[in-house]
Amino acid sequence: MLPSIPLLLLSLLPVSLALPSYSPIWHRPLLGPPQTPSQIHRVPGENKTVILAGNRKVVGGLNPGDGEIVWRQMHEEADPVLRHASSGRLTATLSGPSGSTLRLYTPHTGELVLEVLLHLPEEGTLFTPGEVGTGLQFVGEDLMVLSGGNAVRKIGAGGVEWVWTPENADESYLKLYATPSHVHLLGIDPSSKHTHTVLSLSTGELLSSSPLAFPHSSKAEPLMLHPSVALEVQDGKLLSVSLALHGKHKVHTLPGHWASLEDVGLAPQGYVIALKEDGAAHVLRATPDGAMESVWEFSESKKAAHYTESVFAGALDKTGAPHVARVYWTHSLNLGNKLRKGSFNLWSAGGVGGQGMVTGFTFPFQTKVHGTMKDIALEVGLSSSTPVKPIPRFLLHTSTGSLQLWQDDKLQWTRDEGLGDLVGGVAWADHEEQPIALPGSLAAAIGDTASPMGDRGVGDAPEPLVAKWERQLASAWRLPGYVLSFLLRFVESVVPSEGSAQLSHALHKLVLVAGSTGKIWALDTSRKGGVVWDRILGISGAEENMGKVDVQKVLSVGGVGWVVIGHRNDKDGIHTAAWEIVPSTGAIYPPPGREGTTNGLTLFSGRLLDAFILPSDGTSQNETVVLISQDKGIYIFPDDAGRVASLSHRAKQVYFSLPLSLPDVTFERATLEGFAIIPQHESFVALQTFATHLTPSPKSELLQLIRPHRGPVASLGRVMGNKKTLYKYLNPHLVVALTEHLSATDGGEWCGVHVVDEVSGAVVYEASVRKPSGRECGISAVLADNWLVWHFWNDGNSGAVVANGGGMRTKGWRVVVVELYEGDADEVTRSAELSSMSVNSTRVHAISQTYGFPSAWKAVTTTSTKYGITLKDIVVANDRSQIQAYPHAILDPRRPVGKLTSEQKEELLIPFDSVIPDDPRRTVSQNIQVMGTTRLSTTPTALESTTLLLASGVDLFLARLSPSSTFDILSDSFNKTQLILTIIGLIAGIAIVRPIVESKKVRQRWYSTT
């Protein structure tokens, strides 16, 4: 068929038929792995409890009943959450560098009540860790805030009531502790000695400021607790001193060898946990004279091989009595064949004789799934029966980022928040489902139904006509079987499934994701979604992160399955290891060892620089992972003989490129290095082939190297209205480098986009814009075949020379669309099959256009389909938590200005518009808020029209995209029953009417009078 005819037919169709179809499949709202302590908070008067949890990026409220998110707030990367606290009807968050921003929310609905900028983000004293120098404490309904290390504010119902800053700017304050009458500040003076400052809570007046009575120690920070006592551990001694305003204060020493103190949130009640050097945990209480007393020692808390370290939390019940909980995990406890290895102890103050009482139980914590217990938040209810018994409810943070709510020893729910912080990319796999079983003899008669008409796909390499005929003749014997199976299928699905059974089968895939905590999950892409299986790689949550795996890359490797490459933190340093995983079952090779941990196959010691996939050589499906170590060593995985032979056979044609990395960081220049792989003594070495400096000035940086996804390309060119062709520049070796450099001529900073051939190192296309003042370069770029789209912020001075030279221009986001062609119309260089070393390989004709864009880009990718016939869309995660798709027709550099000529109309070009409008119909996420997307990943499906898209970051979001409409899917209104009944009716009608007509004809002949 001539290509112009489908085009013409397309132009005849009503436009509505060709509308793209975007539909969300599932969405999993998340908070991300918790980093700040959670709080189980009861809202007074509402009889509602809400769990406040969060990390640097997100703070939110969870419903304790089902664990669903009630509300959440996302913070920008420059505005990380340092602290959050709740009391009564308010939740406060302190975020930004040294607590520059204070926000108040309602805890049960998350409505923003107040937002105050306490200081400019660039001001304020910064400490490590970031939460030192900040403080957040509720005193009744008032909130005391320490921010920037030097400013104290009292926030009341009417906003900021008073601000206090020290007269001496050298002094900074580390901690804040407020009593109902006073504010105590623990400060540090220029000679780095601790100071103690007291302010009046009601007026903010400075009452006293004096050095802390402790001998100087820079090791530990003192804790402050009720009633005005400071304590710290120094050289195994636990010292405490009264902070009362008047009188001479004596330093008290508590006997014993103490190791550390742990604040469990009971400082206003005067309780703290102190750990001895042997691990024994004591509950300490402060006495009015500034001394400390041990009121309880937790049994079995000494360090032992069969216990893990304990985690503590404190809470008040409704009578105001304090409770301290301790949870730990034992290796050996085994009750009634059930693995109930988590232990919970609760110490409650009061009780008989004032010694407090202890209750405890074990609970079935699954350490193999969730790692170890990292943190706990406690809530204690009281039973209505007498004697009153505490009913504990506790929230566990685990080392894999899970949140679990336990009521007594029963698990209420688990949230896999580790999914909110993914690393290493995404790997897809087809869901292997058993095909619909046919009766045995029938199946044998039909033969292989999976590939009924030869084993070729549309995207395969072209074959000569004779070969095609041979192949078709050879597979002709399967035709009867094919027809039979077709008929069976045709009849089988008489019950209308609206195509959904086949459709969902075609779209059914598995996707592997890896969390920063070392856990991996396989997710199902079907509508019910969910986790198919999860595994922990290495050891999660061990001391000093021993055995922890930092996943570097997640790959889908032909002939193997999934391969995870990660850094394993061993005693003797970091090792790079690989795990081979069967997608459907989650079976891992190498299998788990004696302790049940999967430590992977160690490939080399040291870190991984990059890992690539070597495509199969055509003789088999086998792909190979090629790993580059930091010393540029080449390792392959799996390293069976066939794969080694396959690589050494092709070795001299295999190239890769890496950003220049030198141990000397003072010499920084945006440089791309190219390497070839050379076989040497049964192994391989990387041989440097080129080093291309990407920027004119040596003061530059390579910000990002983007390796575009390569899929089949169905159309080699773009046919214009006059039937001439612009041949696409389809060099398969292109990479996109984003750089930043300081101009040698005008001293300005510039941001660059460079498209480089990674075999020859030749720069094929480059462009640069002036770096926006006070911002990062922030360029995002994507290259799909020959279509480069990049996006940047223009602050009115992008550096482009304008003809009229008129002053400032509009600020805003810009998208630059570039198409690379082999030359002008009808010029051919056959770039797709050209050697990168040939003269013509860098001959490029670039057509570009800039458009205004309504939003920032957080992540960008393109759709990809099985055969590359469907037009590609650019998919973007914008700064409004939406996923949007932009078709080529809109992001087209050839959109004509002015009235369209008939040729341009024939080409279906859309007239130029300076701004790409924000069209809600292109929003893939519809009304779903997809929070914090940092990565978009697409995969082709069995249907050519359809691509699956996974957005990850904080939330997980899966959608189905059909950029050129669902041309290979029957619409829901298609009625197969009706069709079959009509056909049967027609056949029956013919069968009945034909003899009647025949006899009538004969009769007519016989009796007709002419």
């Binding site: 290509p3 390499a461 690539f612 070597l614 092709r650 039937k723 062709t725 070796h733 099959e833 050209l834």
Partner: protein
């Protein structure tokens, strides 16, 4: 009517008895009518002229067709498609019926060897090609003729590049 050699005298047929057969041995004598003899050469000239008329006849509808097609625009519609199909096929039909069409114009007094109407037939054929040309022009206007590289793009193939870059 061309080619009719005699004239019929209707005046003699006015009698209502005319249908009655003449008696045996009766010979009708046309009273007052003269049988005009026709000069065969002049007659052939006339035939030749008529043949020329036929030869250029397809061109006569050409301006009308051209105008119609021009007015129908460059879109592919059923109207222009039927016109084009007619324009494309009727000339060939006409050419295939060439001998039949020119048979009545063959000179009676054939003297020369070869086809006496060769010229007319040639012209007829050429003129018949004009509607074909018009139809092709229209097809070209509508973009139905695969003349550009774009029409053959789908048949182009590319091999794989000799180098392999890792991703």
């Amino acid at each position: 009517m061309p080619g009719t050699p005699t004239f019929l005298e209707y005046a003699t047929l006015s009698s209502k008895w005319n249908s009655v057969a003449s008696p045996p041995g009766f010979t009708a004598v046309s009273g007052g009518t003269v049988k005009r003899a026709v000069d065969p050469v002049k007659y052939d000239e006339l035939k030749s002229k008529r043949a020329w008329d036929l030869a250029i006849s397809p061109a006569k509808t050409l301006p009308m067709n051209a105008f119609m097609l021009y007015m129908s625009g460059s879109g592919v519609q059923i109207f222009s498609i039927t016109s084009i199909v007619m324009l494309l096929f009727s000339p060939f039909k006409a050419i295939s019926g060439l001998e039949k069409a020119f048979a009545p114009f063959l000179p009676t007094a054939t003297a020369s060897s070869g086809d006496p109407l060769f010229l007319q037939k040639t012209v007829y054929m050429l003129v018949n090609l004009l509607p074909v040309a018009l139809a092709l022009w229209k097809c070209q206007q509508m973009g139905l003729i695969p003349t550009g590289t774009g029409d053959w793009l789908a048949f182009e193939t590319r091999g794989t590049a000799p180098e392999l870059s890792l991703r």
